[in-house]
Symmetry: D2
Subunit: 346 residues, 4 copies
């Protein structure tokens, strides 16, 4: 059993992480910190954990050393404290955006501020196992992933890997998201009376997660855009990438590209059915699951392709991927503690 | 007072039409037909009409002549009976898809069957007042509009009218829709347990309403696609068109184009705010209203434009537009009986 | 045209009131105040009012005299300013709880504080037209109604009026409510991610609206309880009163009692169908409507009765009733400006 | 590893059971039958099972013998085939209502038809482990439980067990339920457009599950009623029992009674907090979990008690309890395969 601690455990990402770690066969959670809920039982904030643990939120200033340290704070904290954190644990996994980008100038361009610890950017591996599995096996430090970036990157992965995209055409990625993306703090617009039944485009261009798509997929920044629309569900993201395939690329080529990727990755599934209710990737059935469901449609008459990826933003888009990273970093079975299948109906 | 009758009154479009006509100051509803609910009070099917009317559903075979006849049947009925219908009334408004397209071959291409009354196609005016107001003032026959086509056409209208679009770039229209689009009959996938909290792309390409966008916007069929995604609300459509503007077109040009269109049309509003919760077009606040809210975002760095239109699919996307057409055909004030403002919150 | 002003127009009740008054044929809205949104267009807060009015929120300190003054502030304000308000208008309608109870000691018992203007309590008429129509015709000051109290009172009204209840048995009123009851400010628990899909009993006993049921129905305080449960909708209340009828009372007696009440009141409807989807009172179809739908079931084997009333909490439970009161106070047609039928489906 | 088969695997209860059994460490699922989906992969109906199993729905006529047989058919099937089924397996667990009641006359009274195999009624143990744990350890045949009966019985259990209820006062049980209770077939009223945002009382008295409360809690049939109201969520039941405690019973007595029951039962939790969002039992956080959360409020001034129980109707109310029964029947750890904690937020 390895000892772990979580800094910032009262948010949604921290709570989900705690749930997964409490059930993980190889780790023991020693501390979970929260300034705003200091001294409270964790189940008072995360009511699903009642009767699961008697842990209370502890003071982040009093952390002891552990084998693995998870950072689940709001963005912008970790880069100011990374030197302290590395003294606490040999392995660190950060769920926030602080160490996702490899280049300090690129970071400044997208986040509108200088990075506080630019020398640390190169020491982190980007935390999506489907893209960096090999490096993770030897990595000490792994970053988090943006949930919208993850859905986008996994939608594009089969096409990019098999080099099927016409690189001169734009890629419009339409992303629909649930309310848990707003975080536990929320805002005026995420009050239920204002947020229920919405189809609300809160960002047409310029969402920060775009930077992770540019970096990880190697697409030209001018060609790609993410458009974010809030819809009425709590957990879930669907990314729908609209692009163009190279001349001559046919449906069978895409099938092959998708199958290759799904076979190489335990948490990827191709969903493309001719009958039944669930014919395409849908986040509805993924709540609590670490799967990313991928699929596509190709209009062979003009080469337009629609590539889809559905995930649970708190699982594959955050805490699930973080646990998957931990498994790889520790040399454990990649799927350990991540076997929940999701529910139907839900 | 003019006499009106509705053929096919038990569906959602028919019920909404009935609601509007019962409150309209210039008409009296004489008959509403329904085979499946023959003899029932209309309020037993449309419970909002309780204490509003004692009308019962009548037999379509026993219709008497009226001044205005509305057809609210499922698609494919009206074209087989149009010769009978024109003997019943001098003015006909059809909500279905039977007479939306002007060309029989084009109809066959999109509907996969020969049209049963091709000679009648040229006698109908396409039923969107924002596109055909002048013709409607003298028209005897007006077609319905596809709700998704309406959201798409009104999203594109300012750009097309001001000729701002780069006609060599594709137009991807992402459409999110509520469950009332499935109709009162529904299907296995529209059962609440399967339909709640979905983000379900049920048509990536090839939706029939695409034909109405091609016809009415004059865009090349190869360049435009509609991608349909069901989300969790009952009433509402948001169409988001992703395209490219001509070189040199700036945000101020779009502002001008949008304002011109909004000023010319009583039911169009430009929504583009810098603060508050409701900054962009959203169907949430349009339930029951005939407004179409339009808006845009332009990335001046690469010319990518996101053009949005939100409507209530049963109002501006069906019955509301039909009543607006009636007002124009009869020489009445265009907004008569359509003044409901919508609700907030809802 | 009479001049009206609204103090406190940025909340949900104030916004709904404004919507109704803007469409009312006999009044002109001269001022709407809001401290927090001072100077903003009202449509920036209430987006359904875009293109309906160019009114901006004004300073409550600068109000001019009007014919009718509506108070739509949070509870506890009006009682401190009533002397100022009566100098501004001869007719006042208060939507808050300040003047609902007739007895200062009773107020203190339920609100936990002394009333600031006890001498004014007797000058207000309780604002439910179904209970105080005659007094309203000559009243200068009318109070608001609690939305949950209104649903409860109208559920019980036919039984109480016809004296059918066994007064020795308890009355348990189970109330299910939507999220707009939390108000525009909201709270941590009304964030969408925490509030969606809830069945959350937030008050088992002791809700303040209970006092209005005791006062208006004349039931013994020991016998009646309101249990409040939040469910997933925005607008709507269903009150379900569980009680016992007097020995020998049969279903036909209840039918008669309900019909009498529905015939006397333009906004009451009895809903009790044997077929179809909508057989009982339901708030779903009442959004935006001023109707209160009432119904019942009686178990003749043991005298248990279930009496139901569904309303839109912002309409019949607040602003709709307030406009109905205004109509009565001014000698206008009671239903003026309140004819919206509600939507189906929604 | 024990071999199991499921008869009737395409419904919601069967699908949930299959999910649990596929992850259970001591069993192997050999067959899952479905007539309507014969030959299809189970993941085509239950999409959460994709990449979990290659099982296909098989023909119930071709079942082979197994160690444990689950019956997950619609009500009314099992009683006609029980003689066949007992030849297939030494241990049978039936999820339907066929063998829940111990008395044939009582069955006929509530189900309106003679039981087809009355001699089998006494051979089944009622399938709620919290009530019949000891008998289950030696039982061959265990029945299912009604989900609404389970929520009601567990709400009342602490009060009944500690004998705190005034047996002369009525018990009104108000039950709010999600749409998965309608089953995979659904009906006109469970179409999303008609079912979303409802508060719909579909049964005021006489729901069949009442019989299980009478039988298992030993309450007089005249005193107890279940009132069923559909609300907008997919999974979940909240039962709220309104009754009266014996004279002199205080809050501390109830606390003690609840704690005793929670300590004796691994899946019961008392929820009664003074702060935070989740202070009372709520089904929202129980989706996929086998917990039953119980709680209460007592008005000491008049003895009114509100006793609550929240469950996931497909888990503790059906398939979860069935697996728990299996664990007890087989001598395994009671919680085996049932450790999923539920999600927050969801």
């Amino acid at each position: 059993m390895k000892n772990v601690a979580i800094i910032g455990g009262s948010g949604y990402g921290g709570g989900e992480l705690l749930r997964l770690l409490l059930a993980h066969p190889c780790v023991e959670v020693k501390q979970v910190t929260s300034r705003s809920h200091l001294g409270e039982y964790v189940y008072q904030v995360h009511p699903n954990l009642r009767k699961q643990t008697q842990l209370k939120f502890s003071n982040p200033a009093l952390l002891e050393t552990v084998d693995i340290l998870f950072l689940a704070q709001p963005h912008g904290q970790a880069q100011h404290h990374i030197e302290e954190y590395v003294r606490l644990a040999p392995k660190i996994i950060d769920l926030a955006a602080d160490f996702r980008l490899r280049d300090a100038a690129f970071y400044e361009q997208w986040y509108g501020e200088k990075h506080a610890a630019p020398e640390w950017l190169s020491k982190f591996v980007y935390g999506l196992p489907e893209l960096h599995r090999a490096e993770m096996r030897t990595a000490s430090y792994v970053s988090g992933v943006g949930c919208n970036a993850t859905a986008s990157n996994l939608a594009l992965l089969p096409l990019v890997k098999a080099d099927l995209l016409d690189t001169s055409a734009p890629i419009f990625i339409e992303i629909k998201v649930g309310s848990s993306e707003s975080g536990a703090e929320g805002n005026a617009g995420s009050q239920h009376a204002e947020r229920a039944s919405v189809i609300r485009t809160f960002s047409a261009f310029g969402h920060r997660h775009t930077a992770e798509v540019i970096q990880e997929m190697g697409v030209d920044a001018k060609r790609v855009s993410l458009t974010m629309t809030a819809v009425d569900l709590v957990r879930g993201v669907l990314a729908t990438a609209h692009g163009k395939v190279k001349q001559g690329v046919a449906t069978k080529d895409l099938w092959k590209a998708y199958r290759v990727v799904a076979n190489e990755n335990p948490f990827l599934r191709v969903v493309k059915e001719q009958r039944g209710i669930y014919r395409v990737p849908e986040p509805k059935i993924l709540a609590g699951s670490n799967y990313a469901d991928i699929g596509f449609e190709l209009d062979e008459s003009n080469g337009h392709v629609v590539a889809m990826c559905a995930i649970d933003n708190l699982m594959k888009g955050a805490s699930g991927s973080a646990v998957q990273c931990m498994n790889l970093m520790m040399g454990w079975e990649e799927t350990l503690g991540l076997v929940f299948m999701g529910l139907h109906p839900i």
